[in-house]
Chain length 262, copies 2
Protein backbone atom coordinates (compact mmCIF):
# COMPACT_ATOMS: atom_id res chain seq x y z
CA UNK A 1 0.00 0.00 0.00
CA UNK A 2 1.05 3.54 -0.63
CA UNK A 3 0.71 4.98 2.85
CA UNK A 4 3.18 5.12 5.72
CA UNK A 5 2.10 2.40 8.14
CA UNK A 6 4.24 3.87 10.89
CA UNK A 7 2.72 7.34 10.77
CA UNK A 8 -0.64 7.83 12.51
CA UNK A 9 -1.83 10.69 10.31
CA UNK A 10 -0.89 8.74 7.21
CA UNK A 11 -3.02 5.81 8.46
CA UNK A 12 -5.96 8.17 9.05
CA UNK A 13 -5.61 9.75 5.62
CA UNK A 14 -5.52 6.29 4.01
CA UNK A 15 -8.72 5.41 5.91
CA UNK A 16 -10.23 8.72 4.81
CA UNK A 17 -9.44 8.18 1.14
CA UNK A 18 -10.67 4.59 1.19
CA UNK A 19 -7.20 3.23 0.49
CA UNK A 20 -7.19 1.41 3.84
CA UNK A 21 -10.13 -0.34 5.54
CA UNK A 22 -8.38 -3.00 7.64
CA UNK A 23 -7.58 -3.76 11.26
CA UNK A 24 -5.15 -1.38 12.92
CA UNK A 25 -3.20 -3.79 15.16
CA UNK A 26 0.49 -3.16 14.57
CA UNK A 27 -0.06 0.10 12.68
CA UNK A 28 1.55 3.37 13.85
CA UNK A 29 3.48 1.62 16.64
CA UNK A 30 3.93 3.80 19.71
CA UNK A 31 0.72 5.75 19.13
CA UNK A 32 -2.53 5.52 21.08
CA UNK A 33 -5.45 3.82 19.36
CA UNK A 34 -9.01 4.35 20.54
CA UNK A 35 -12.44 2.77 20.65
CA UNK A 36 -15.07 5.00 19.03
CA UNK A 37 -18.70 5.51 20.04
CA UNK A 38 -20.88 8.15 18.38
CA UNK A 39 -24.25 8.99 19.91
CA UNK A 40 -27.09 11.52 19.55
CA UNK A 41 -26.64 14.59 21.71
CA UNK A 42 -29.50 13.67 24.06
CA UNK A 43 -27.53 10.58 25.18
CA UNK A 44 -24.16 12.30 25.39
CA UNK A 45 -24.24 13.64 28.92
CA UNK A 46 -25.36 10.33 30.42
CA UNK A 47 -22.75 8.45 28.40
CA UNK A 48 -20.01 10.81 29.50
CA UNK A 49 -21.11 10.29 33.11
CA UNK A 50 -21.16 6.52 32.57
CA UNK A 51 -17.57 6.59 31.32
CA UNK A 52 -16.42 8.82 34.17
CA UNK A 53 -18.02 6.48 36.73
CA UNK A 54 -16.39 3.43 35.14
CA UNK A 55 -12.89 4.59 34.21
CA UNK A 56 -11.36 1.10 34.09
CA UNK A 57 -13.56 -0.28 31.28
CA UNK A 58 -14.31 3.18 29.79
CA UNK A 59 -11.25 5.45 30.00
CA UNK A 60 -12.39 8.52 28.04
CA UNK A 61 -9.59 10.02 25.99
CA UNK A 62 -11.60 12.40 23.84
CA UNK A 63 -15.09 13.85 23.30
CA UNK A 64 -16.13 16.00 20.35
CA UNK A 65 -18.39 19.00 20.52
CA UNK A 66 -21.95 18.30 19.25
CA UNK A 67 -21.85 18.13 15.48
CA UNK A 68 -18.10 18.76 15.41
CA UNK A 69 -16.32 15.87 13.69
CA UNK A 70 -12.87 17.09 14.70
CA UNK A 71 -10.90 16.09 17.81
CA UNK A 72 -7.79 18.25 17.49
CA UNK A 73 -6.42 17.07 20.88
CA UNK A 74 -6.20 13.55 19.47
CA UNK A 75 -4.87 14.24 16.00
CA UNK A 76 -3.99 16.91 13.47
CA UNK A 77 -7.06 17.55 11.25
CA UNK A 78 -8.59 14.28 12.53
CA UNK A 79 -12.08 13.77 11.09
CA UNK A 80 -14.14 11.21 12.96
CA UNK A 81 -16.49 10.86 9.95
CA UNK A 82 -13.85 9.25 7.75
CA UNK A 83 -10.66 8.44 9.65
CA UNK A 84 -11.75 5.15 11.25
CA UNK A 85 -11.05 2.32 8.79
CA UNK A 86 -14.39 0.64 9.33
CA UNK A 87 -17.56 1.55 11.27
CA UNK A 88 -20.58 -0.30 12.58
CA UNK A 89 -23.98 1.35 12.44
CA UNK A 90 -26.62 0.44 15.02
CA UNK A 91 -30.24 1.62 15.00
CA UNK A 92 -32.30 1.12 18.15
CA UNK A 93 -29.52 -1.13 19.46
CA UNK A 94 -29.49 -3.42 16.41
CA UNK A 95 -26.52 -3.76 14.05
CA UNK A 96 -27.55 -2.57 10.60
CA UNK A 97 -24.26 -2.87 8.78
CA UNK A 98 -20.62 -1.92 8.38
CA UNK A 99 -19.37 1.05 6.38
CA UNK A 100 -16.01 2.68 5.75
CA UNK A 101 -17.27 6.25 5.93
CA UNK A 102 -20.09 8.01 7.83
CA UNK A 103 -20.10 11.43 6.17
CA UNK A 104 -23.64 10.80 4.92
CA UNK A 105 -24.81 9.81 8.43
CA UNK A 106 -23.17 12.69 10.30
CA UNK A 107 -25.45 15.44 11.64
CA UNK A 108 -25.16 18.44 13.94
CA UNK A 109 -26.84 16.27 16.57
CA UNK A 110 -24.01 13.73 17.00
CA UNK A 111 -21.26 13.57 19.64
CA UNK A 112 -18.16 11.35 19.24
CA UNK A 113 -16.52 9.63 22.20
CA UNK A 114 -13.05 8.06 22.05
CA UNK A 115 -12.10 5.51 24.70
CA UNK A 116 -8.61 4.13 25.42
CA UNK A 117 -7.66 0.65 24.30
CA UNK A 118 -5.40 -2.10 25.57
CA UNK A 119 -3.09 -1.85 22.56
CA UNK A 120 -1.31 0.93 24.50
CA UNK A 121 -0.33 -1.28 27.43
CA UNK A 122 0.23 -4.36 25.30
CA UNK A 123 3.02 -2.53 23.53
CA UNK A 124 4.62 -1.89 26.92
CA UNK A 125 4.19 -5.55 27.93
CA UNK A 126 5.84 -6.75 24.74
CA UNK A 127 8.70 -4.27 25.22
CA UNK A 128 9.19 -5.70 28.73
CA UNK A 129 9.52 -9.18 27.26
CA UNK A 130 6.17 -10.44 28.56
CA UNK A 131 4.77 -12.90 26.02
CA UNK A 132 1.23 -12.33 24.77
CA UNK A 133 0.24 -15.74 23.49
CA UNK A 134 -2.74 -14.58 21.44
CA UNK A 135 -0.54 -12.09 19.59
CA UNK A 136 2.05 -14.78 18.90
CA UNK A 137 -0.73 -17.06 17.63
CA UNK A 138 -2.24 -14.31 15.44
CA UNK A 139 -5.54 -14.42 17.32
CA UNK A 140 -7.84 -11.81 18.85
CA UNK A 141 -7.75 -11.48 22.66
CA UNK A 142 -10.34 -13.57 24.56
CA UNK A 143 -13.16 -11.47 26.07
CA UNK A 144 -15.76 -12.42 28.67
CA UNK A 145 -18.76 -10.92 30.44
CA UNK A 146 -18.44 -10.89 34.23
CA UNK A 147 -20.82 -10.58 37.17
CA UNK A 148 -19.15 -7.27 38.08
CA UNK A 149 -21.84 -4.61 37.52
CA UNK A 150 -20.75 -1.25 36.17
CA UNK A 151 -21.95 1.95 37.87
CA UNK A 152 -25.05 2.96 35.89
CA UNK A 153 -25.72 6.45 34.51
CA UNK A 154 -29.07 7.26 32.88
CA UNK A 155 -29.94 4.45 30.47
CA UNK A 156 -26.38 3.07 30.49
CA UNK A 157 -25.72 0.04 32.67
CA UNK A 158 -24.65 -3.58 32.49
CA UNK A 159 -21.89 -6.04 33.34
CA UNK A 160 -18.21 -5.27 32.97
CA UNK A 161 -16.54 -7.11 30.11
CA UNK A 162 -12.95 -8.23 30.54
CA UNK A 163 -10.11 -9.40 28.33
CA UNK A 164 -7.99 -12.31 29.55
CA UNK A 165 -4.29 -12.95 29.05
CA UNK A 166 -2.70 -16.12 30.49
CA UNK A 167 0.65 -15.41 32.16
CA UNK A 168 2.98 -17.21 34.52
CA UNK A 169 3.10 -15.79 38.05
CA UNK A 170 6.29 -13.77 37.61
CA UNK A 171 5.05 -12.23 34.36
CA UNK A 172 1.62 -11.58 35.89
CA UNK A 173 3.25 -9.64 38.75
CA UNK A 174 5.26 -7.56 36.26
CA UNK A 175 2.25 -7.08 33.98
CA UNK A 176 0.22 -5.68 36.90
CA UNK A 177 2.94 -3.14 37.63
CA UNK A 178 3.32 -2.14 33.97
CA UNK A 179 -0.37 -1.84 33.08
CA UNK A 180 -1.05 0.17 36.27
CA UNK A 181 0.93 2.93 34.56
CA UNK A 182 -1.64 3.12 31.75
CA UNK A 183 -4.87 4.32 33.39
CA UNK A 184 -6.06 5.64 30.02
CA UNK A 185 -5.74 2.13 28.61
CA UNK A 186 -7.76 0.24 31.27
CA UNK A 187 -4.90 0.30 33.83
CA UNK A 188 -4.16 -2.60 36.20
CA UNK A 189 -6.14 -5.84 35.99
CA UNK A 190 -9.48 -6.19 37.76
CA UNK A 191 -8.99 -9.87 38.61
CA UNK A 192 -6.40 -12.62 38.64
CA UNK A 193 -6.73 -16.31 39.23
CA UNK A 194 -10.17 -17.83 39.60
CA UNK A 195 -12.58 -16.99 36.73
CA UNK A 196 -15.58 -18.34 38.69
CA UNK A 197 -15.15 -15.58 41.28
CA UNK A 198 -16.13 -12.98 38.67
CA UNK A 199 -18.90 -15.03 37.10
CA UNK A 200 -17.00 -16.60 34.20
CA UNK A 201 -18.10 -20.21 33.96
CA UNK A 202 -15.90 -21.48 31.19
CA UNK A 203 -12.66 -19.93 29.94
CA UNK A 204 -12.92 -22.13 26.86
CA UNK A 205 -15.94 -20.19 25.67
CA UNK A 206 -15.21 -16.47 25.37
CA UNK A 207 -18.05 -14.01 24.78
CA UNK A 208 -15.98 -12.40 22.02
CA UNK A 209 -12.53 -12.86 20.50
CA UNK A 210 -10.70 -16.15 20.34
CA UNK A 211 -10.27 -18.98 22.82
CA UNK A 212 -6.69 -19.10 24.13
CA UNK A 213 -4.96 -21.92 25.96
CA UNK A 214 -4.27 -21.40 29.67
CA UNK A 215 -1.31 -23.68 30.43
CA UNK A 216 -1.24 -25.60 33.73
CA UNK A 217 1.23 -23.22 35.39
CA UNK A 218 -0.43 -20.03 34.11
CA UNK A 219 -2.71 -17.66 35.93
CA UNK A 220 -5.52 -16.12 33.89
CA UNK A 221 -5.23 -12.32 34.28
CA UNK A 222 -8.31 -10.19 33.57
CA UNK A 223 -8.36 -6.57 32.46
CA UNK A 224 -11.41 -4.34 32.07
CA UNK A 225 -12.32 -4.26 28.38
CA UNK A 226 -13.45 -1.58 25.96
CA UNK A 227 -16.40 -3.66 24.75
CA UNK A 228 -18.08 -2.85 28.10
CA UNK A 229 -19.42 0.56 26.97
CA UNK A 230 -20.55 -0.82 23.61
CA UNK A 231 -22.68 -3.42 25.38
CA UNK A 232 -24.11 -0.73 27.68
CA UNK A 233 -24.97 1.47 24.71
CA UNK A 234 -26.69 -1.27 22.76
CA UNK A 235 -28.75 -2.09 25.82
CA UNK A 236 -29.83 1.58 26.00
CA UNK A 237 -31.13 1.31 22.39
CA UNK A 238 -30.42 4.81 21.12
CA UNK A 239 -32.04 5.53 17.72
CA UNK A 240 -28.54 5.80 16.21
CA UNK A 241 -25.14 4.62 17.42
CA UNK A 242 -21.98 4.37 15.35
CA UNK A 243 -18.88 2.54 16.61
CA UNK A 244 -15.61 1.40 15.11
CA UNK A 245 -15.76 -2.18 13.81
CA UNK A 246 -13.88 -4.58 16.13
CA UNK A 247 -10.12 -4.17 15.64
CA UNK A 248 -10.58 -1.22 13.26
CA UNK A 249 -9.57 1.48 15.75
CA UNK A 250 -9.09 5.22 15.52
CA UNK A 251 -5.34 5.89 15.29
CA UNK A 252 -4.34 9.07 17.14
CA UNK A 253 -1.25 11.29 17.19
CA UNK A 254 -0.83 10.78 20.96
CA UNK A 255 2.21 8.77 22.06
CA UNK A 256 1.57 5.82 24.37
CA UNK A 257 4.67 6.80 26.31
CA UNK A 258 3.42 10.35 26.88
CA UNK A 259 0.33 9.00 28.60
CA UNK A 260 2.12 6.51 30.84
CA UNK A 261 2.51 7.37 34.52
CA UNK A 262 6.14 7.63 35.65
CA UNK B 1 7.22 2.68 79.93
CA UNK B 2 8.91 5.99 80.07
CA UNK B 3 9.99 6.38 76.45
CA UNK B 4 8.16 7.83 73.48
CA UNK B 5 6.98 4.84 71.44
CA UNK B 6 6.31 7.05 68.42
CA UNK B 7 9.81 8.49 68.22
CA UNK B 8 12.50 6.32 66.59
CA UNK B 9 15.42 7.81 68.51
CA UNK B 10 13.53 7.42 71.77
CA UNK B 11 13.02 3.71 70.98
CA UNK B 12 16.73 3.31 70.27
CA UNK B 13 17.73 5.10 73.46
CA UNK B 14 15.35 2.87 75.45
CA UNK B 15 16.98 -0.18 73.85
CA UNK B 16 20.40 1.28 74.63
CA UNK B 17 19.61 1.87 78.29
CA UNK B 18 18.04 -1.56 78.72
CA UNK B 19 14.62 -0.08 79.40
CA UNK B 20 13.22 -1.76 76.27
CA UNK B 21 14.07 -5.23 74.93
CA UNK B 22 10.87 -6.17 73.09
CA UNK B 23 9.62 -6.60 69.55
CA UNK B 24 9.43 -3.43 67.50
CA UNK B 25 6.24 -4.08 65.47
CA UNK B 26 4.03 -1.02 65.80
CA UNK B 27 6.75 1.16 67.31
CA UNK B 28 7.78 4.46 65.69
CA UNK B 29 5.07 4.22 63.03
CA UNK B 30 6.08 5.72 59.71
CA UNK B 31 9.79 4.98 60.19
CA UNK B 32 11.90 2.36 58.46
CA UNK B 33 12.94 -0.66 60.53
CA UNK B 34 15.82 -2.87 59.47
CA UNK B 35 17.21 -6.38 59.72
CA UNK B 36 20.73 -6.40 61.18
CA UNK B 37 23.65 -8.65 60.29
CA UNK B 38 27.13 -8.06 61.74
CA UNK B 39 30.07 -9.95 60.28
CA UNK B 40 33.87 -10.05 60.48
CA UNK B 41 35.58 -7.81 57.95
CA UNK B 42 36.91 -10.69 55.88
CA UNK B 43 33.31 -11.68 55.03
CA UNK B 44 32.03 -8.17 54.47
CA UNK B 45 32.85 -7.68 50.81
CA UNK B 46 31.31 -11.00 49.75
CA UNK B 47 28.24 -10.31 51.86
CA UNK B 48 27.81 -6.88 50.33
CA UNK B 49 28.08 -8.43 46.87
CA UNK B 50 25.57 -11.11 47.87
CA UNK B 51 23.07 -8.43 48.92
CA UNK B 52 23.64 -6.41 45.76
CA UNK B 53 23.07 -9.47 43.60
CA UNK B 54 19.87 -10.33 45.45
CA UNK B 55 18.16 -7.00 46.05
CA UNK B 56 14.66 -8.43 46.52
CA UNK B 57 15.44 -10.59 49.58
CA UNK B 58 18.43 -8.46 50.69
CA UNK B 59 17.78 -4.75 50.06
CA UNK B 60 20.80 -3.09 51.68
CA UNK B 61 19.89 0.15 53.40
CA UNK B 62 23.09 0.71 55.38
CA UNK B 63 26.63 -0.58 55.89
CA UNK B 64 29.00 0.58 58.63
CA UNK B 65 32.70 1.17 58.22
CA UNK B 66 34.85 -1.63 59.73
CA UNK B 67 34.83 -1.22 63.50
CA UNK B 68 32.56 1.81 63.31
CA UNK B 69 29.33 1.18 65.27
CA UNK B 70 27.63 4.30 63.94
CA UNK B 71 25.38 4.56 60.88
CA UNK B 72 24.62 8.28 60.78
CA UNK B 73 22.66 7.99 57.51
CA UNK B 74 20.13 5.78 59.29
CA UNK B 75 19.81 7.61 62.61
CA UNK B 76 21.11 10.41 64.74
CA UNK B 77 23.89 9.03 67.04
CA UNK B 78 22.69 5.49 66.20
CA UNK B 79 24.96 2.89 67.88
CA UNK B 80 24.58 -0.59 66.42
CA UNK B 81 26.18 -2.10 69.58
CA UNK B 82 23.25 -1.20 71.82
CA UNK B 83 20.30 0.20 69.87
CA UNK B 84 18.78 -3.08 68.72
CA UNK B 85 16.42 -4.33 71.46
CA UNK B 86 17.68 -7.92 71.28
CA UNK B 87 20.50 -9.66 69.41
CA UNK B 88 21.34 -13.21 68.46
CA UNK B 89 24.95 -14.35 68.58
CA UNK B 90 26.12 -17.12 66.26
CA UNK B 91 29.55 -18.75 66.31
CA UNK B 92 30.56 -20.91 63.36
CA UNK B 93 26.94 -20.76 62.20
CA UNK B 94 25.50 -22.04 65.49
CA UNK B 95 23.21 -19.95 67.71
CA UNK B 96 24.94 -19.40 71.04
CA UNK B 97 22.42 -17.13 72.74
CA UNK B 98 20.46 -13.88 72.82
CA UNK B 99 21.70 -10.67 74.41
CA UNK B 100 20.39 -7.11 74.66
CA UNK B 101 23.76 -5.46 74.12
CA UNK B 102 26.92 -6.35 72.18
CA UNK B 103 29.36 -3.72 73.45
CA UNK B 104 31.55 -6.45 74.91
CA UNK B 105 31.55 -8.38 71.60
CA UNK B 106 32.29 -5.42 69.34
CA UNK B 107 35.75 -5.18 67.79
CA UNK B 108 37.50 -3.11 65.15
CA UNK B 109 37.11 -6.13 62.88
CA UNK B 110 33.29 -6.05 62.60
CA UNK B 111 31.07 -4.59 59.88
CA UNK B 112 27.33 -4.00 60.37
CA UNK B 113 24.81 -4.45 57.56
CA UNK B 114 21.24 -3.19 57.74
CA UNK B 115 18.66 -4.66 55.35
CA UNK B 116 15.17 -3.34 54.64
CA UNK B 117 12.13 -5.06 56.11
CA UNK B 118 8.53 -5.62 55.05
CA UNK B 119 7.18 -3.48 57.91
CA UNK B 120 7.71 -0.51 55.56
CA UNK B 121 5.35 -1.76 52.88
CA UNK B 122 2.91 -3.33 55.34
CA UNK B 123 2.23 0.11 56.73
CA UNK B 124 1.36 1.27 53.20
CA UNK B 125 -0.88 -1.77 52.67
CA UNK B 126 -2.78 -1.12 55.89
CA UNK B 127 -3.16 2.57 54.98
CA UNK B 128 -4.66 1.46 51.65
CA UNK B 129 -7.21 -0.63 53.50
CA UNK B 130 -5.73 -3.99 52.53
CA UNK B 131 -6.28 -6.41 55.42
CA UNK B 132 -3.25 -8.29 56.77
CA UNK B 133 -4.81 -11.26 58.49
CA UNK B 134 -1.76 -12.22 60.54
CA UNK B 135 -1.55 -8.71 61.97
CA UNK B 136 -5.26 -8.78 62.86
CA UNK B 137 -4.73 -12.16 64.53
CA UNK B 138 -1.65 -10.99 66.43
CA UNK B 139 0.59 -13.55 64.73
CA UNK B 140 3.96 -13.45 63.02
CA UNK B 141 3.96 -13.60 59.20
CA UNK B 142 4.28 -17.10 57.69
CA UNK B 143 7.70 -17.72 56.08
CA UNK B 144 8.82 -20.50 53.74
CA UNK B 145 11.93 -21.69 51.94
CA UNK B 146 11.54 -21.91 48.16
CA UNK B 147 13.33 -23.66 45.32
CA UNK B 148 14.36 -20.26 43.94
CA UNK B 149 18.16 -20.13 44.29
CA UNK B 150 19.75 -16.82 45.19
CA UNK B 151 22.73 -15.55 43.19
CA UNK B 152 25.77 -16.72 45.18
CA UNK B 153 28.72 -14.53 46.19
CA UNK B 154 31.78 -16.04 47.87
CA UNK B 155 30.58 -18.36 50.63
CA UNK B 156 27.06 -16.92 50.59
CA UNK B 157 24.39 -18.90 48.76
CA UNK B 158 21.15 -20.74 49.31
CA UNK B 159 17.42 -20.70 48.64
CA UNK B 160 15.29 -17.57 48.73
CA UNK B 161 12.96 -17.40 51.70
CA UNK B 162 9.57 -15.78 51.24
CA UNK B 163 6.82 -14.42 53.43
CA UNK B 164 3.21 -15.18 52.46
CA UNK B 165 0.11 -13.04 52.87
CA UNK B 166 -3.28 -14.40 51.75
CA UNK B 167 -5.30 -11.79 49.83
CA UNK B 168 -8.34 -11.76 47.59
CA UNK B 169 -7.62 -11.08 43.92
CA UNK B 170 -8.52 -7.38 43.95
CA UNK B 171 -6.41 -6.73 47.06
CA UNK B 172 -3.55 -8.82 45.63
CA UNK B 173 -3.53 -6.65 42.49
CA UNK B 174 -3.45 -3.49 44.59
CA UNK B 175 -0.81 -4.93 46.94
CA UNK B 176 1.46 -5.69 43.98
CA UNK B 177 1.22 -2.07 42.82
CA UNK B 178 1.80 -0.67 46.30
CA UNK B 179 4.72 -2.88 47.33
CA UNK B 180 6.44 -2.29 43.98
CA UNK B 181 6.98 1.25 45.24
CA UNK B 182 9.12 -0.05 48.13
CA UNK B 183 12.20 -1.61 46.51
CA UNK B 184 14.14 -1.07 49.76
CA UNK B 185 11.54 -3.19 51.56
CA UNK B 186 11.59 -6.25 49.24
CA UNK B 187 9.44 -4.55 46.57
CA UNK B 188 6.80 -6.38 44.52
CA UNK B 189 6.01 -10.05 45.21
CA UNK B 190 8.12 -12.81 43.66
CA UNK B 191 5.18 -15.20 43.24
CA UNK B 192 1.41 -15.39 43.41
CA UNK B 193 -0.91 -18.35 43.32
CA UNK B 194 0.51 -21.85 43.27
CA UNK B 195 2.97 -22.56 46.13
CA UNK B 196 4.12 -25.81 44.50
CA UNK B 197 5.59 -23.86 41.58
CA UNK B 198 8.22 -22.35 43.90
CA UNK B 199 8.89 -25.54 45.85
CA UNK B 200 6.58 -25.00 48.80
CA UNK B 201 4.93 -28.34 49.53
CA UNK B 202 2.57 -27.38 52.34
CA UNK B 203 1.36 -23.89 53.23
CA UNK B 204 0.17 -25.29 56.55
CA UNK B 205 3.76 -25.83 57.66
CA UNK B 206 5.79 -22.62 57.47
CA UNK B 207 9.55 -22.75 57.89
CA UNK B 208 9.30 -19.83 60.34
CA UNK B 209 6.56 -17.62 61.76
CA UNK B 210 2.98 -18.70 62.20
CA UNK B 211 0.61 -20.70 60.04
CA UNK B 212 -2.13 -18.49 58.60
CA UNK B 213 -5.41 -19.56 57.04
CA UNK B 214 -5.74 -19.15 53.26
CA UNK B 215 -9.49 -18.86 52.64
CA UNK B 216 -11.02 -20.59 49.60
CA UNK B 217 -11.26 -17.37 47.55
CA UNK B 218 -7.80 -16.07 48.52
CA UNK B 219 -4.60 -16.15 46.54
CA UNK B 220 -1.40 -16.73 48.50
CA UNK B 221 0.98 -13.87 47.65
CA UNK B 222 4.70 -14.38 48.23
CA UNK B 223 7.30 -11.67 48.90
CA UNK B 224 11.07 -12.14 49.18
CA UNK B 225 11.93 -12.26 52.87
CA UNK B 226 14.70 -10.82 55.02
CA UNK B 227 15.49 -14.20 56.58
CA UNK B 228 17.08 -15.17 53.25
CA UNK B 229 20.46 -13.52 54.02
CA UNK B 230 20.48 -14.90 57.58
CA UNK B 231 20.14 -18.41 56.24
CA UNK B 232 22.92 -17.75 53.72
CA UNK B 233 25.20 -16.40 56.44
CA UNK B 234 24.64 -19.32 58.78
CA UNK B 235 25.43 -21.68 55.93
CA UNK B 236 28.74 -19.82 55.39
CA UNK B 237 29.64 -20.47 59.07
CA UNK B 238 31.61 -17.32 59.88
CA UNK B 239 33.42 -17.51 63.24
CA UNK B 240 31.15 -14.74 64.55
CA UNK B 241 27.83 -13.40 63.31
CA UNK B 242 25.46 -11.16 65.24
CA UNK B 243 21.90 -10.48 64.05
CA UNK B 244 18.79 -8.88 65.52
CA UNK B 245 16.52 -11.40 67.23
CA UNK B 246 13.40 -12.09 65.11
CA UNK B 247 10.97 -9.18 65.38
CA UNK B 248 13.45 -7.08 67.40
CA UNK B 249 14.45 -4.75 64.59
CA UNK B 250 16.69 -1.71 64.34
CA UNK B 251 14.45 1.38 64.30
CA UNK B 252 15.83 4.12 62.04
CA UNK B 253 15.10 7.81 61.58
CA UNK B 254 14.28 7.31 57.89
CA UNK B 255 10.65 7.84 56.90
CA UNK B 256 9.00 5.00 54.97
CA UNK B 257 7.32 7.60 52.78
CA UNK B 258 10.64 9.21 51.87
CA UNK B 259 11.86 5.90 50.47
CA UNK B 260 8.77 5.08 48.45
CA UNK B 261 8.90 5.53 44.71
CA UNK B 262 6.40 8.10 43.38
Amino acid sequence: MGFDRNDPRSVRLAARSGEFAGVTAGLAPGYVQGNVCILPREFAEDFRTYCERNPKPCPLIGVSGPGDPHLPDLGKDLDIRSDVPRYRVFRDGVLKGEVTDIRDLWTADLVAFVIGCSFSFEEALIEAGIPLRYVAEGKNVAMYLTNIETEPAGPFRGPMAVSMRPLNAADAIRAIQITAKYPRAHGAPVHIGRPDLIGIEDLERPFAGDRIEVKPDDLPVFWACGITPQAAVLRARPPLCITHAPGHMLVTDMKNSAWALP
